[in-house]
Amino acid sequence: MNDQMAPYRDRTTAVVITTAMLTFISFWRAAAVVLCDISSTAYYVCGIAEQAIGKAAPWFIALVMVIAYALRTVYIESCAMFVRAGVYRVVKEAMGGTMAKLSVSALIFDYVLTGPISAVCAGTYLMGFINDILSLLGFGAWAIPPTSGSVVFAIIVTLYFWRKNVIGIEESSGKALRIMSVTAAMVAILLLWSAVSLILDPKPLPPITPVVTPEAWGWLNGIPWLKTIGIVGILIAIGHSILAMSGEETLAQVYREIAKPKLLNMKRAAFIMFVFSFMFTAVVSLLAVMIIPDDVRANFYDNMIAGLVMYLQGPLILRLIFQGVVVLVGAAILSGAVNTAIIGSNSVLCRVAEDGVLAGWFRQPHKRYGTTYRIVTMIAAVQILTIVLSWGNIYLLGEAYAFGVIWSFTTQTLAVFILRFKDKTPREYKVPLNIKLFGIEIPVGIGVVFLALFFIAVANVLTKTVATKWGSAFTLAFFAILVLSELHNKHIRKVQADKHEKVNLRFEGELTPERCGCKKKNCVLVAVRDPLSLYHLKVTLGRVDPRTTDVIVLTIERMPIVSLPGGEGKVEELPHDDQLLLTNVVALAEKHGTHVIPLVVPAKDATFAMAKVAFELGASEIVVGKSEQVAPEVQLERLAIAWGYLAAETGRRITVRIAWPKHELKYELS
C-alpha cells in the first residue's frame, strides 16, 4: 500500500489577483466624485458667463443644469448597454474608430483643462483670502502675488492628486465624499443666509435677456443681421454658460465602479448630482448677481462666491469667518475637480489603450497599488504644463475648456441616437420620449438633446474663437498621436488589441481569509474554468449581498504556476486562457457592481482543491457551473466526497450549487 494521499496533504498555495478595478463604491461616493467636477464650476462659471452675456448669466447657467440632467439620461442609457460606456466605446460602436478617436481627443482637451482651471481658481480664492487677512492685520506689504501664488498652489494640488491616484481610486473617492459633505453644509448655510439677507434687503431678480458683448459674438461679429435673431443670442448665451456642464463623462467612467444595484445606484447618483449642482451652481450664481452690487461685481469675477459672502447681511467678523470657510471649501472642491479630471482621463485612456490604440505599456499596473500610474502621470504632467503655459489665466482656460465638453457630449448623444437603430438589443434603460411610427421607435428624447447640444456646439465654434483655435489644434494633435500610436502598435505587434485585464498577482504560500482579502461575514466560492461559461458566476453576483458576502472566484490551474519573483508579478505570467477568464470575470463583476476576489490555485484534483479552498477560507457555499464531462449529479458526488474528507473532524456544513441556464441543483453537504 503506497501513500496515495501524499499530494493531498500539500499546503494550498494560491495566486491572489489584486486590482483596484475590482473595488466598488456607493452611489454617494460616485456622486461625490462627479460632483467635485460639476460643482467646482460654481466657483468660476458665473464670473466667466457674466463677462460674456451680462446679468442674465445665472438663468442660462440654470438652463444648462437642466440640459445636463437630460444629457445624463443619455449617459445612463449608454452605461446600461456597455459597462465601460465612455465616449470612446459608445462612439466607436455607433460611428467607428476614427470618430471615436476624435471624440476622445476633444474629451482629453476637456480633462487637460479641467484640472488646471480648477486648481488655479482654488489658488485664486486662497490667495485672495490670505491677502485680505494680511491686509487686515496690517501686513499688506507682505501680500502674495495672486497669479504666481495661484499657479504655485495649482501645481502643488495637481502633484498631490497625482500621488493619490497612483495609490488608488478607493482612497480618492473617499476624499471626494468628505469634500462634498463639507460643501453641502456650506451651501446650505450660504442659501439660508442669502435668503435672510434678501428678506432684510430685497433685491430684484436679474433680467432674463442676455446682453452678449461684442467679444462674445466672436467671428459672428461680422454678420450683424444675426444679432437680430433671438434664438442665436440664446444659443450663444447658453454656449458661454456651458462650462457649468461637465462631469458626465466622469460619471460614465465611474459607472463601472458603482456598487450593486448598479443601474438604480447610477440613477440615484444622477439625481443627487442634479439637485446639488442646481442649488449650488445655478442658485448661488443667481444670488451672487442679485446681492453683489453691480458697480463692484466685476472685482469678484474670479471669486464670485467670496464676493457674495462679503455682501450678505450680518456682522463683518461673521462674514469674514464664513468667507474663510468658502475659500477653504472652494480650495478643497476645486482640488477635488483636479482629482476627478485625473480619474476621468485615466479611465478614458485605459479604454483607448485596451483597444490597441495606445500601447499596452500605458496600462501596466503599479507594482504595489495596481493603478495605471503611467497614464495618471502623463495626464498630471500635461496639466502642470498647461498651468505654467497659461500662467493662471482663468478666463482663457474657461473659454477653451468648454470646447472639449460640448463636442464630446454632442458626439456621445449622436452615437446613442444611432445605436437605437443599429443595435436592437433590449435596453435596461431608455431615455424617455420614444414614439412609435409605422412600427419604428423614434427616440425623440435623445434627438432633442442631440439637436440642442449640436446647435450650442456650433454656436461655440463660431463665437469662442480662443476655444475653437486651441481646442481644434489640441484635438487634431491628440487625434494624430492616437492614429500614429495605433499604426505603430499594429506594425510592431501585428496582433489583436490587448483587451486582457491588467492586474497584479500576489503569490500566497498559505491560504487564509486574511491573506485573500476576505473581510465580510460570509464567503461564497465560485469555481470558474471556461471564459465563455460564466452563467453560474453571473447568477451568484446577482444573488449575493456584497455588503455581507465576499465572492471568491477560483480557478484551478493544473500546471504548476511559475514562481513569482518577490511573491508578486503581472498578469502575463498566467496562462493565456486564465488571462481571458480573468478579464471576463472582471467584466461580470463590473456589470453587477459586486466586488470579487479572484484566486488561481495550482492543483491536480480540481474538485478536491475547490473543496479545500472553500474549507480553508470558511466559505458557506460553493457554486460551480455544469461540467461538460460528467453529469451534475456526479459533480455533486465528487464534491460530497471531498467535503466529507475535509470536514470529517469538524462536522462543518456547506451548501453546493450547480447552476446552468434555467437550472440549478442545490444541496447541503455535511
Binding site: 500500500m1 503506497n2 496515495q4 494521499m5 499530494p7 493531498y8 491536480k604 460528467v630 453529469a631 449529479e633 456526479v634 455533486l636 458526488e637 465528487r638 460530497a640 466526497i641 471531498a642 467535503w643 466529507g644 474528507y645 475535509l646 470536514a647 470529517a648 473532524e649 444541496y667 447541503e668 453537504l669 455535511s670
Partner: protein
C-alpha cells in the same frame, strides 16, 4: 448520519475473493442481492460500471465507493468488502489508484433521496479520512472485527 446505521456485519465481505475491480463489483453485488433478495444482479453490476465509467470512485485513501441510483430499491442498501490485496483502478483517464476497502451502495432514484445519497458519500469519505483505517481493516479477517473498528472510528468522530 452514521455509516454503521446502513450496514451490519452480514453486509461485510471479508476477505474478498476476487482480485480485479470488475470481479470485486460482481462479488459485492452478488452478496448484496442475496442478502436483500434483489433479482437482476446483471443490471446492478451494469449500473455500477456505468457510474464508474463517468468518473472513478477510487479515492486516494485506499477505498472505492462504487455506487448507483436505481429504481429497484426504496432505501439505501450498502455492502462492504475488504481485501489485503491492492485492487487497481482500471478506468482510463483516472489516476493510478488502488483500493483495499470497497464501500458499495445503491440508492433510490427519487430526487428527494439524493440529499441522503450525497450525505452517505460524504460520511464514507469522512470515516476513511483517518488514513490508518484502511491498512488496519485490510489486516482484519472477520466481518465483525471490521464492523467494530468502523464503529470505533465513528464514535471517535462524534466525540471530536
Amino acid at each position: 448520519m452514521q455509516l454503521t446505521h446502513y450496514i451490519t456485519p452480514t453486509e461485510i465481505v471479508v476477505p474478498l475473493k476476487e482480485t480485479t475491480k470488475e470481479g470485486v463489483y460482481k462479488e459485492l453485488v452478488s452478496h448484496l442481492a442475496s442478502e436483500h433478495h434483489l433479482k437482476d444482479k446483471e443490471k446492478l453490476v451494469r449500473a455500477i460500471l456505468e457510474r464508474e465509467e463517468s468518473a472513478s470512485t477510487f479515492l486516494p485513501m485506499g477505498i472505492a465507493i462504487p455506487h448507483a441510483r436505481i429504481p429497484e430499491v426504496d432505501d439505501i442498501l450498502v455492502v462492504m468488502g475488504v481485501t489485503p490485496h491492492d485492487i487497481k483502478d482500471t478506468a482510463k483517464d483516472s489516476a493510478p489508484l488502488t483500493a483495499n476497502v470497497f464501500c458499495m451502495f445503491f440508492s433510490p432514484t427519487e430526487d428527494k433521496e439524493f440529499g441522503r445519497h450525497l450525505k452517505l458519500l460524504a460520511r464514507i469519505a469522512a470515516v476513511f479520512s483517518d488514513t490508518k483505517l484502511v491498512p488496519e481493516l485490510s489486516k482484519l479477517s472477520s466481518a465483525e472485527e471490521v464492523f467494530e473498528r468502523i464503529q470505533i472510528r465513528e464514535r471517535e468522530m462524534s466525540e471530536e
